[in-house]
């Protein structure tokens, strides 16, 4: 059984039909990549899964449970973490306070914190600093760290490499590889070269529809398909 299934999901935002027919399954384990051009509907797909937009009609099931129409907070409590494109950092709070908020009971174990520091060592240095004073890369680290401070079933990550320096993108790829050993990641990306290093399964979305599903290995091998769906040669 798939961890997450999207079935003919449609999402309207005000008078705009953004998602027309999004159907794909995310298997448990590893990184599933959702690729697509700018404005194709990738972020809307993640927001619809989290209940931030209401898909109608269509359905989203998580571990076989229909979560369509559930409140965002209740979806999160099922073990789904969300790292939005804008990182969603609380700039007026310290790094520690941001991390505390990401826990369900207000505390985290020392071993779990060591695990997070192991992936993002820089966070320890900025622990008591306002999150708003961090650099873009550090904020992205904090945003992902929040998603893993407690073990989750699934992490939805929206374009984590956007605007980051190449060295930080490399570090991020290493971090995601480590995290995906214990948690499934649904990664939305425009940066194909980053995504191909991580993804096992993938789908391509275009104009609000899933236009391709398959293994990353096969997609990487088919340059003609890449060009057609992602305009990589343009």
């Amino acid at each position: 059984m798939s961890l997450l299934s999207l079935n003919a999901m449609k999402t309207d935002i005000e008078q705009y039909h953004v998602l027309h027919d999004v159907t794909f399954d995310v298997p448990e384990g590893g990184v599933f990549v959702l690729l697509g051009r700018n404005g194709a509907g990738k972020s809307t797909t993640l927001r619809s899964i989290m209940g931030l937009w209401s898909p109608s009609p269509g359905s989203v099931t998580f571990r076989g449970k229909d979560i369509t129409g559930m409140h965002t907070a209740d979806i999160a409590r099922l073990g789904i973490a969300y790292v939005p494109e804008n990182m969603g950092i609380f700039g007026g709070l310290t790094v520690e306070e941001n991390m505390i908020l990401a826990t369900q009971n207000g505390s985290f174990s020392k071993s779990r914190l060591e695990f997070v520091y192991g992936i993002f060592p820089a966070l320890e240095r900025f622990w008591d600093k306002p999150a708003g004073s961090l650099s873009g890369g550090q904020k992205q680290m904090l945003s992902v760290a929040r998603a893993i401070i407690e073990k989750r079933e699934l992490i939805l990550i929206d374009e984590p490499t956007k605007g980051l320096a190449p060295s930080i993108v490399d570090a991020m790829a290493g971090a995601f590889a480590e995290i995906s050993a214990e948690t499934t990641i649904l990664l939305v990306e425009q940066n194909f070269h980053f995504a191909r290093r991580l993804g096992r399964e993938m789908a391509v979305i275009d104009d609000g529809r899933v236009v391709h599903r398959g293994s990353m290995e096969a997609f990487v091998a088919d340059t003609e398909l890449q060009d057609r769906l992602l305009s990589l040669s343009a």
Binding site: L52, G88, G92, L101, A102
Partner: protein, 327 residues
């Protein structure tokens, strides 16, 4: 310039700067002390009224023009309780005085809590995320409450008795400090301390501060902001009622128009202070209280416009207010 200002205490020093300028302009120290105490007391009472509105604004982006209905209700409920306990108020026993005052303030706050719950569920909830409808429906609710007060208490101004232990003034040399004003200031300070502690030292406060910044993300972390909002709304309503009750004792004569009169001042304080910030609200309230009293003494013809002028000056300097939580 801002960096230099921050090094010396930043905008927190503004009330001190205003007081210092007023000291020079007023000249007579005894008058200055009296006006300063009156300004601080007024500021604290307005802070009580405005603090909830600021959080509601910041947390849920709700424009509640009916907030001052809780101020009116608090004032009239407290006045009725105090009138009913007239025997206790005049008693030489301070304990009886305190009991009467506590009963009046407690009744006002309890009514504010319940009215806040009703208001949020029936009036605010259907118009989340729709500012125009929020303004229309909350203004309408304010008018309904005013008319209800008129129907229950009548149109004649009501005299509000004060407990005997808060009557009179402390005379220190040439300076006279009204006891009620000192009490209002102390009460406001205690409430501010409590709010500050909750917001900065508890998990609930952490959630509120985070919600003011980005409520969507707080929900994505697994917390129901809508439920938290009901609690904040009720607390804000109770504090507004407490502010109204204290204001009633300060004015000693109240009319059903009290809420509408205070609405402008409360909104000015919230805007000056910056949305969603308790510290900003306190700063804005103290500035409004001090400026209103100083200008009323120095240039009485300008007193009505003083708060508007203050708001214009501050917004031209800091468009988001003095200490906004939401930037």
């Amino acid at each position: 310039m801002n960096a230099t200002l921050e090094r010396f205490g930043g905008v927190n020093l503004l009330p001190l700067a205003v007081a210092a300028v007023a000291f020079v302009l007023i000249g007579a120290p005894s008058s200055w002390v009296t006006l300063t105490v009156a300004g601080l007391a007024m500021g604290m009472m307005v802070f009580l009224m405005a603090s909830g509105l600021s959080l509601v604004f910041g947390l849920m982006d709700v424009l509640n023009f009916g907030h001052s209905a809780f101020v009116s209700l608090g004032a009239f409920i407290a006045a009725s309780v105090l009138a009913a306990l007239g025997g206790w108020l005049g008693s030489p026993s301070v304990l009886m005085n305190v009991a009467a005052l506590a009963a009046a303030l407690g009744a006002a706050m309890l009514f504010g809590l319940l009215a806040g719950l009703f208001f949020e569920k029936v009036i605010i909830k259907p118009v989340y995320a729709d500012h125009l409808r929020q303004i229309l429906i909350t203004m309408g609710a304010l008018i309904v409450v005013e008319e209800a007060i008129l129907a229950i208490w009548g149109g004649t101004p009501i005299t509000v008795p004060r407990p005997a232990f808060l009557e009179g003034a402390w005379i220190i040399g040439d300076v006279s400090i009204e006891i009620y004003r000192a009490f209002a200031f102390a009460l406001g300070l205690i409430v501010f301390g409590g709010l500050y502690w909750v917001l900065n030292r508890t998990r609930l406060g952490l959630l509120i501060r985070a919600g003011v910044e980005n409520r969507e993300m707080v929900e994505a972390l697994g917390f129901r902001i809508d439920r938290l909002f009901v609690g904040v709304f009720m607390l804000g309503s109770a504090l507004a009622a407490l502010g109204g009750a204290m204001w009633a004792g300060y004015q000693t004569l109240i009319t059903p128009a009290l809420g509408a009169e205070m609405m402008i001042v409360v909104f000015i304080v919230v805007i000056i202070g910056g949305l969603g910030s308790i510290e900003g609200t306190l700063l804005g309230a103290l500035m409004v209280g001090l400026v209103a009293n100083y200008v009323g003494f120095l240039a009485p013809k300008l007193s009505l416009a003083s708060n508007m002028i203050l708001m214009m000056i501050i917004l031209m300097w800091r468009p988001s207010g003095l200490r906004p939580a939401v930037k």
